[in-house]
């Protein structure tokens, strides 16, 4: 009889633990952000990047907990939904990496690529400021 019941049975204890760990992790995230880490006397490491990666790591951990417990991925009988969820992030990663492959190598061959010009476009002529071209 139990076999025919859909889904998993929620446990209040687990839910409580999940909630507490999410709150702790978000406090940790804010903590990392507030830490004046970049002022450390270390120059062989991009500390801004380290900080961002730490924060990202906490966010990913929180996302994992939300998906696993609140959305119930951990209890799935077939792993289908988990596959969907991971595929998702795989596609997003592709998008991110390839867009970065564009922007971070612009000008690698021809430095004039990187230069951003700054002027008002006549396309938005309605602002009336279109004449103030400053090349």
């Amino acid at each position: 009889m139990d076999m025919e019941l859909p889904g998993h049975t929620y446990s209040f204890k687990v839910l409580g633990q999940v909630y507490v760990s999410l709150i702790v992790l978000s406090a940790l995230m804010v903590g990392f952000a507030m830490l004046p880490m970049e002022k450390l006397p270390i120059d062989w490491l991009d500390l801004h990047l380290v900080k961002r990666l730490l924060i990202l790591g906490v966010a990913v951990a929180m996302a994992g907990i939300v998906a696993g417990f609140l959305m119930g991925l951990k209890y799935e009988k077939s792993k289908l939904n988990a596959v969907v969820f991971l595929t998702n992030f795989a596609f997003l990663l592709i998008f991110l990496l390839f867009v970065l492959a564009d922007i971070s190598f612009r000008g690698a061959m021809d430095p004039s690529f990187t230069k951003q010009l700054n002027w008002k476009s006549p396309v938005n002529a309605e602002e009336g400021s279109s004449g103030e071209a400053s090349h």
Binding site: Q116, L117, S130
Partner: protein
């Protein structure tokens, strides 16, 4: 008749053309081979195994053949990897200009090109370049994305607002070659043409000298008429009275025109100059405020010449 023009490809006039045409032709014959193979097999099977009785069944059911399928996975894979290397080499060569390249600035606007020779201070509507000299174009647009395409040189690059994009080439023979805009840019996209004039080094030097002062020996009206087509006014303003994207210039001088948003203006020197520098400020009623500003594009002398030309159009 140009002998380098073939059934598939236009004439060749740059150092890239041979490599690109080689890639095209190589791939073309590979395609022809596969296309003929498929169509021949298809036609042969259809003729050979056509159903003769209504209840006829297939004479064999062949569900798969791993060797065959692996073969026709592997062979195309090898071919395309070869093509990739070929394309990549050619492309990187097209992107890196040699260090002795001569730089010319290109500006795209709706719907005209202008070419600036920074060292000589020349601005022109056609690209004049010496033969056998690498040329690097530094390109930008003042409104929307355009694309600069010279079929005979087999090269092309988008011209992007807010940023420079570059392109280089080395012409291999003299002549006049077509330039197209290939990124859709609005009403007169298909009129946004110009030409590359490839000349010998001596002719180029002579041209530079003459071009440094285009108004020499001309009346303001004559110079204005040249500017009218050179600066792209012709795309929107007619001189025969027909209504284009902008008002016609014929007979407009001295008249009082109603303005968008109320009011009127008399077409005089001040109004003409204002309309060239800040077109959006006083648009004639019934027209769109789409004219690009010519602030910094036209010199005072050129403005005067254009004004004189408009005045002469009775």
């Amino acid at each position: 008749m140009d002998t380098t023009k073939s059934f598939w490809l236009p004439e060749k006039a740059s150092t890239f053309a041979d490599a690109v045409d080689f890639g095209f032709n190589l791939y073309y014959w590979i395609s022809v081979f596969f296309f003929v193979l498929i169509v021949f097999l298809m036609a042969w099977f259809v003729v050979r195994y056509i159903r003769r009785r209504p209840d006829q069944l297939a004479s064999a059911q062949i569900t798969h053949n791993t060797l065959l399928e692996t073969t026709w996975t592997a062979i195309p894979l090898l071919i395309v990897m070869g093509l990739f290397v070929l394309g990549m080499k050619g492309y990187w060569n097209m992107r890196v200009a040699p260090s002795n390249a001569m730089q010319i600035d290109v500006t795209g606007r709706k719907w005209a090109w202008s070419f600036d020779y920074p060292k000589e201070g020349i601005s022109n509507d056609t690209l004049v370049v010496p033969v056998h000299q690498p040329i690097r174009l530094r390109m930008t647009s003042v409104d929307v994305i355009h694309s600069f395409f010279i079929p005979a040189f087999r090269t092309k690059a988008d011209v992007i607002p807010g940023r420079y994009h570059s392109l280089w080439f080395e012409a291999t023979k003299t002549g006049v070659f077509q330039v197209f805009c290939t990124q859709y840019c609005g009403t007169n996209h298909s009129y946004m043409w110009t030409a590359v004039k490839v000349v010998t080094a001596e002719e180029y030097a002579a041209w530079l000298e003459a071009a440094s002062d285009p108004s020499k020996g001309k009346t303001p009206e004559e110079f204005g008429e040249i500017l009218y087509s050179k600066k792209g006014c012709v795309a929107c303003h007619s001189v025969d009275g027909s209504v284009g994207i902008g008002p016609t210039w014929k007979g407009i001088w001295g008249t009082e025109v109603p303005l968008e948003g109320g009011g009127e203006a008399i077409v005089n020197e001040a109004y003409a100059k204002q309309s060239m520098m800040e077109p959006a400020s006083q648009v004639v009623k019934g027209f769109q405020p789409i004219m690009p500003p010519f602030q910094g594009v036209l010199s005072d002398k050129e403005v005067d010449a254009l004004t004189a030309y408009i005045r002469s159009l009775k």
